[in-house]
């Protein structure tokens, strides 16, 4: 028996949402190609193919779903993962990362939508933990293999011109960070299509920029990549399953990501500050959703209790950030990853696999 409603919103299925995200990411592939030519395309293709095959095999084996790898989410994970790596990354390392992103980031949680953490960032942390090469400065010295000269849209003789050129195209950093313009355009497209809302990127960037400004006012020089921050805040932190789903919760979550990443940068985390911050807050998302539950129609809310809950949540997040920083300082993050592998494998075998056919 069919239940109401008998009409559905058009062009609004999960695959339509994923397709929109892929559209928003395409210009970045183009920018990567412009910078590093087929080297970049080869890396991205490796990630995409690995993700799709992994997704297909795992779903076919455990969930008996044979076409779910085409829903677009594996493709997005692959693109985002490859956007966070240097063009000098060996292809097998990226393939390993892609495999781990899909298996440990998504599928062991029970599949699409059930992951607590952003799969692409999980894949990235796996690469760093298993390949020490990934956190050396050598992998970022990309000048020797660069494909083209910097592309200049504006005359490069004035300060303003140089600045504007850097916004359009600048070949430093990871594969997805070459064109801030394209990143922002992709973000705007997603906001217009209502696939993300402005709250998370806005909160992250506002808090982050205020933080950097305050630090530099105190005489502390922060090393970070602004393009990477924007890429992360628009495309990674807004991942639907791992981010809160109400606007106040989103603002809090974004604000905390901004704060925690400043904290990590100050603690000398050289490359992983934003992924740590996002993954950390991903872990707190269910609590944020609970505490920031919207006020129901006609409901009376005790704001004193709510404030107290938010205060203790904030304390917990800061404590967790301290713990991560300590682990990072002693190079113990990889043990955290090993523990995660054991935990999630057990959890899948004894619990998540039973719900693999539940939609929620």
């Amino acid at each position: 028996m069919n239940l109401n409603p008998y009409i559905k919103a058009k062009k609004n299925s999960v695959s339509a949402i994923m397709f929109d995200v892929i559209i928003a990411l395409m210009p970045l592939v183009l920018a990567a190609y412009a910078a590093f030519g087929f080297k970049a395309i080869w890396l991205i293709t490796t990630a995409v193919i690995t993700c799709l095959i992994t997704d297909f095999l795992f779903n076919a084996l455990y969930a008996k779903k044979y076409n779910s790898f085409l829903d677009g989410s594996a493709m997005i994970t692959a693109l985002l993962l490859s956007f966070t790596v240097s063009p000098l990354t060996p292809w097998y390392v990226l393939a390993f990362g892609s495999f781990c992103a899909i298996v440990f980031g998504k599928l062991l949680w029970g599949g699409l939508g059930k992951n607590r953490f952003n799969p692409a960032l999980v894949g990235r942390e796996f690469m760093t933990a298993f390949f020490p090469l990934m956190s050396t400065a050598a992998i970022w010295s990309t000048n020797s293999i660069r494909n083209t000269k910097d592309f200049h849209l504006f005359a490069n003789d004035s300060l303003l011109g140089m600045y504007s050129n850097d916004l359009v195209f600048k070949t430093t950093g990871a594969l997805g960070e070459y064109s801030m313009l394209f990143i922002v355009l992709g973000g705007l497209y997603l906001i217009i299509r209502k696939r993300i809302s402005w709250h998370i990127p806005f909160a992250i960037l506002t808090v982050f920029l205020c933080g950097t400004w305050l630090s530099s006012a105190c005489g502390l020089e922060l090393k970070y990549s602004i393009a990477g921050m924007i890429l992360g805040s628009i495309f990674m932190a807004t991942d639907m399953p791992s981010s809160p789903n109400g606007y106040p919760g989103m603002l809090y979550y974004g604000g905390m990501i901004g704060l925690v990443s400043i904290f990590f940068i100050l603690g000398n985390v050289r490359f992983e500050y934003l992924s740590y911050a996002i993954l950390l807050l991903n872990g707190f998302t269910p609590f944020i959703n609970q505490i920031f539950r919207p006020r129901a129609w006609g409901e009376k809310v005790d704001y004193a209790i709510k404030t107290e809950k938010i205060f203790f949540l904030t304390l917990a997040i800061i404590a967790a950030a301290m713990a991560i920083l300590t682990l990072h300082y002693y190079g113990f993050i990889k043990y955290l990853i090993y523990i995660y592998i054991v935990y999630i494998t057990f959890k899948f075998n004894f619990s998540f696999i039973k719900n693999i056919h539940n939609p929620i």
Binding site: N2, P5, V14, G111, P244, N245, P359, I360
Partner: protein, 418 residues
């Protein structure tokens, strides 16, 4: 949330008469409880004759929409219906004509009760009870013309074509409730109605106004309408009357007009016949108890892969038995294509929570209804859900949200009953 209204299909159609069906199935259920038949099987009844009534707290009555022979109770989709075979002689009982302009308040209430007038928006609350105020003063009498369900234009057609009748009805009701002002709530997309309504203000000796409401779904929900008009946010379950508010639906006003001025019990209402699979579409006077099959033949619908919905597409009910009749709460009959949805896992997009007019988190209902977790269902305030269907409409994964909601409410209901 905005939904494509699809009202243009039938919006400007006049209200037409249709031939009566050969058989009626009169619904023996109302707001609560079951009506008792007061006629024998095989008995000949005349048009307008009382055939069933409930004398309990929520008393109401059902009258014969045509003359013919009663053929006993039949269960259709789990509910009792009284079958009446039409003899097409239109033999009516003689109802003594009332002096409709000079009725006293108590007499009006008595007529509303005797003539089986019920709320026509869907819930079917007996109207005479709604207007029995006790000692409560009424600040505002809201006329619900929002009709937020897509496709439906029955209320629109009445406001456009029967404006004077609606005003006469309001003036009579005002004798009872004496509200300080009367406000029509209509959606912005129907703003052309405002001009028509305004030209009748002079009939009234109390202030009347038209309020244009946003075209959002569900604007016609009682709580949402009250908020839009009075800025008061009443929690679910509270009685609007306690806040000095009385609401009535356009269809109800039309039934009241027929009772007081045409001396007709509630045997007929205006419905919209529409939907992609219907060929003849429009607004029609349809007798209560007319089976869907009759309307289906009338609309000459495409018989392939369709589904018939009684009511609107958002909150209506798909029927499988074509004998299912039009009730006093049915605003439309829609013949729609079957929807084929792609099902995915919930991706926590939060669209449902954003669409929810009650600001609930429908995905949590799906999560906890699966495991019959009553505590969580209660703490996520499932009981505040108005079942408007907005969450299921917008869900990109087609998670069975409505099934979870109905199931969840059922298990909560059973707990309370124990």
């Amino acid at each position: 949330m905005h939904i494509n209204s699809l009202k243009h299909i039938t919006k400007h159609a006049l209200i037409e008469n249709i031939p009566d069906p050969p058989e009626f199935y009169l619904p023996l259920y109302g707001y609560k409880g079951v009506l008792k038949t007061v006629v024998e099987t095989g008995q000949y009844v005349k048009k307008y004759e009382l055939v069933a009534q409930a004398e309990d707290l929520f008393s109401t009555a059902m009258h014969a929409p045509a003359s013919g022979i009663m053929e006993g109770v039949e269960i259709i989709e789990g509910k009792p219906h009284l079958k009446l075979v039409n003899d097409f002689k239109e033999a009516a009982i003689d109802l003594s004509l009332q002096q409709s302009e000079h009725l006293k308040p108590l007499e009006i209430l008595q007529i509303l009760k005797q003539y089986g007038i019920e709320g026509s928006g869907g819930a079917r609350f007996p109207t005479h009870l709604k207007y029995s105020l006790g000692h409560q003063n009424v600040d505002i009498f809201i006329i619900n013309g929002a009709e937020c369900e897509p496709y439906l234009t029955a209320d629109y057609a009445l406001m456009q074509n029967k404006t004077e009748a609606l005003f006469k009805s309001i003036i009579s009701i005002q004798k009872i409730i004496k509200a300080k002002k009367v406000v029509f709530g209509i959606e912005k997309q129907n703003k052309e109605l405002a001009t028509i309504l305004k030209s009748y203000y002079s009939l009234c000796d109390f202030p009347v106004e038209v309020k244009l409401l946003p075209n959002t779904y569900p604007q016609g929900g009682e709580l949402q309408l009250i908020k839009s008009i009075t800025k008061k946010e009443l929690p679910k379950g509270s009685r609007p009357l306690e806040h000095g508010i009385v609401l009535s639906n356009i269809g109800t006003l039309w039934a009241i007009y027929n009772a007081l001025f045409q001396n007709k019990p509630y045997i007929e209402r205006v419905i919209t016949l529409s939907g992609e699979k219907a060929i003849k579409k429009g607004n029609f006077y349809v007798k209560i108890g007319t089976p869907v099959s009759h309307l289906f033949d009338l609309s000459a619908a495409d018989t392939q892969k369709h589904q018939i919905v009684l009511g609107g597409p958002m909150m209506g009910k798909a029927i499988t038995d074509y004998k299912s009749p039009v009730t006093k709460g049915t605003g439309g009959v829609l013949i729609l294509p079957e929807i084929q949805n792609e099902k995915y896992n919930c991706i926590e997009c939060g669209y449902c929570a954003n669409a929810c007019p009650q600001r609930l988190m429908p995905m949590e209902f799906a999560r906890y209804a699966k495991t019959d977790n009553k505590e969580q269902l209660l703490s996520h305030r499932l009981t505040d859900c108005i079942e408007c269907g907005a969450c299921a409409y917008i869900c990109p994964s087609d998670v069975p949200l409505m099934r979870s909601i109905y199931h969840g409410k059922e298990i909560l209901q059973n707990t309370i009953a124990l």
